[in-house]
């Protein structure tokens, strides 16, 4: 039995990409030391010329990643804190994402941005605890939230190989997960959902670390209701076919999502279900509140994130 941790899986995906393609390089803060885990040992192995420690200039090194991508490289940018994504929103939304269209297809920007430890890390308060994946999905940037070590490996591999900018959120709540890996690690295509547990009564579409909460509640309620746990893995482009196929089996939907409620990911999932699916009951979502700012105290931090009790209530509500 080989136990692979989520953090180690990401590290291995990046190492394999660096070994396979000389165009792959890394920019980020403290990446030489490997402070965030993602790059542990990689500068020693691949050199400081390819795994580049940058000064605290997120906007400039993200843009430099764009420039390097335009010049044929495949840069991976590490941002240690999810809220730094707000700082580089201009670079990602207004530059990287727009280059292909604005140049009439002349340019491509194969840039991967990784946040190892997105969402709440417990006790890091308002400016370190955001989970803004819906914002990037809204903009139209390919947005990934792997839940498991094998998916983290596979999606990071595919992100680096992709010709468009990609933002990958590695939820803090999943970083400690270990998985018994029985098959060789392999790329996971973007835009393909994964069914973690088949069911016939309710589809619980759950994102990132919340997949584990969904699985636990599904097991707990197994005598009462048959829950299908579906993990989109890629939020944009979303595997709508998989969602609609699951709803075709269950006819009921609960979305478990760590983004803010208003115009969040769950809102889009409900809209798709409403427009394109046939539901037997009004759908429900369990999310952060509108405009959430996570307070510091642990009880307050937890109070604004989706929890198991809310999910149980939502599942029972759609079963009524």
């Amino acid at each position: 039995m080989t136990l692979l941790s989520y953090a180690k899986a990401m590290n291995r995906a990046l190492a394999d990409a660096l070994a396979a393609d000389p165009a792959v390089c890394v920019f980020g803060e403290d990446v030489g030391a490997g402070l965030a885990g993602l790059t542990l040992g990689l500068q020693q192995r691949f050199g400081a010329e390819r795994v580049v420690d940058t000064p605290l200039s997120e906007q400039a090194f993200t843009s430099a990643g764009i420039g390097a991508a335009l010049a044929g490289m495949r840069p991976v940018i590490e941002l240690q804190i999810p809220s730094l994504l707000f700082l580089v929103f201009e670079q990602l939304a207004n530059q990287a994402h727009k280059f292909s269209l604005m140049t009439g297809g002349q340019a491509r920007v194969p840039l991967t941005v990784v946040v190892p430890g997105s969402g709440s890390r417990s006790g890091w308060a308002g400016q370190h605890s955001d989970h803004p994946y819906a914002l990037f999905a809204h903009v139209g940037i390919k947005t990934l939230v792997p839940a498991t070590p094998t998916d983290a490996y596979g999606l990071l591999s595919s992100a680096i190989a992709d010709d468009d900018p990609v933002v990958l959120f590695a939820p803090a709540g999943a970083l400690g997960v270990r998985e018994d890996v029985t098959v060789p690690l392999a790329p996971v295509p973007l835009g393909v959902a994964r069914t973690h547990r088949p069911g016939t009564d309710v589809t619980v579409l759950s994102v990132g670390h919340l997949v584990y909460q969904a699985l636990a509640v599904a097991e707990e309620l197994a005598d009462e209701v048959s829950v299908e746990v579906l993990d989109p893995r890629t939020l944009y482009p979303l595997d709508r076919a998989a969602l609609l196929a699951s709803l075709g089996r269950t006819g009921r939907l609960v979305v478990l999502d760590d983004s803010n409620r208003f115009a969040g990911f769950a809102a889009e999932a409900l809209a798709i279900a409403g427009e394109e699916g046939r539901l037997l009951a009004p759908p429900r979502r369990v999310t952060r509140p509108d405009g959430a700012v996570l307070p510091f105290a642990l009880g307050l931090d937890r109070a604004l994130q989706p929890d198991a009790a809310q999910l149980r209530d939502a599942i029972r509500a759609v079963m009524k």
Binding site: P55, A60, A64, G67, A69, L70, T103, G104, Q106, A107
Partner: protein, 327 residues
């Protein structure tokens, strides 16, 4: 080898004449409605684009600005395709998807004009870093105005270029105004002082003198190409026209007519022409006029893009976005 079309004084005058006449034609097309949305005319600043590009090779790259037609033409872009782009036609440089503020020709190393002030500088640093990694003797010129001196990301870019010894030629086109705000009221310290603070050698040059710009750009570009790190060139220049074509409607008074007239006295085309035999100047002017007639014909003959293709090229990987229409 430097760009052949800018190799001698006649070539440089020709490029400046092409930019001037192109911009005058573009103004006409904005007035007549052939160009929708307007442009930021480069008229008056031609010596900067041409002088800097005369120090570049075909393999060198550049990032440009919202006032980018001069840079794009000086590097060698086809005027017919640039004009078609401004008019939103399928044969435009960007297939009608970019327009004036995003004109690009990657085959010529033109990484694009940019609609966000200062945004090109760190992109240039990354491209130059990649050239170093790839072992190419390439320099990346990054044009920006005095307004960009107050964008934080530009200062971050100067620092990154310095610590990486990236082969970037930063070109500050100081035309005296960030739209309407005078540089004297906006820039603490000096442009060159900012570069020097990051350990980057900096020079200020008369941006109305194409030969002076070329000589200084050559020094800094060759130093960068030889591994000496980035350089910074401040070119003192002036835009003779409005900030953008919309401004004409507003009758703004941030510049006195005397100030504009005094700078027009220093027209860079007049001084460049004075160094050539009059017959040669007349012949170049006639050539450029002919070239622009053909460019206009080419642009007008090009079709407007099919609205059904509005999402084409959004993703390099070919991903098709969902339609916004009701199901």
């Amino acid at each position: 080898m430097s760009l052949p079309h800018l190799a001698d004084r006649a070539g440089r005058y020709r490029a400046m004449r092409l930019i001037r006449s192109f911009e005058e034609l573009a103004l006409e097309w904005v007035r007549s409605g052939l160009i929708v949305g307007g442009t930021h005319p480069y008229i008056g600043q031609e010596a900067v684009a041409v002088g800097v590009c005369a120090a570049l090779t075909a393999d060198d790259q550049l990032t440009s600005t919202h006032r980018g037609h001069g840079h794009v033409l000086a590097k060698g872009a086809d005027p017919g395709r640039l004009l078609a782009e401004l008019a939103g036609r399928v044969d435009g440089l960007n297939r009608g998807r970019g327009g004036s503020m995003h004109a690009a020709d990657f085959s010529l190393g033109i990484l694009g004009a940019n609609g966000i002030v200062g945004a090109g500088a760190p992109i240039a640093v990354g491209a130059a870093w990649a050239a170093q990694r790839q072992g190419r003797p390439r320099v990346v010129a990054s044009f920006f105005g005095d307004g960009a001196l107050n964008q934080g990301v530009l200062l971050e870019a100067l620092n990154l270029a310095s610590i990486w010894r990236a082969p970037v030629l930063f070109v500050c086109e100081n035309n005296g105004y960030a739209t309407t705000l005078p540089a004297g009221a906006a820039v603490g310290g000096s442009a060159c002082g900012r570069a020097e603070a990051f350990g980057i050698p900096a020079e200020t040059v008369d941006g109305m003198d194409v030969e002076a710009v070329r000589a200084a750009a050559q020094r800094l570009a060759e130093r960068a190409r030889a591994g000496g790190g980035p350089g910074f060139l401040e070119c003192l220049t002036y835009r003779f026209e409005a900030h953008h074509t919309m401004e004409r409607r507003f009758r703004l008074s941030y510049r006195t007519p005397q100030e504009v007239a005094a700078w027009r006295e220093r027209d860079p085309l007049v001084s460049a022409a004075a160094a050539l035999p009059p017959a040669e100047v007349a012949s170049i002017d006639a050539d450029v006029s002919q070239l622009l007639s053909l460019a206009a014909e080419f642009a007008l003959a090009s079709a407007e893009p099919d609205p059904a293709t509005a999402d084409d090229h959004l993703y390099a990987s070919g991903l098709r976005p969902r339609s916004g229409a009701a199901l």
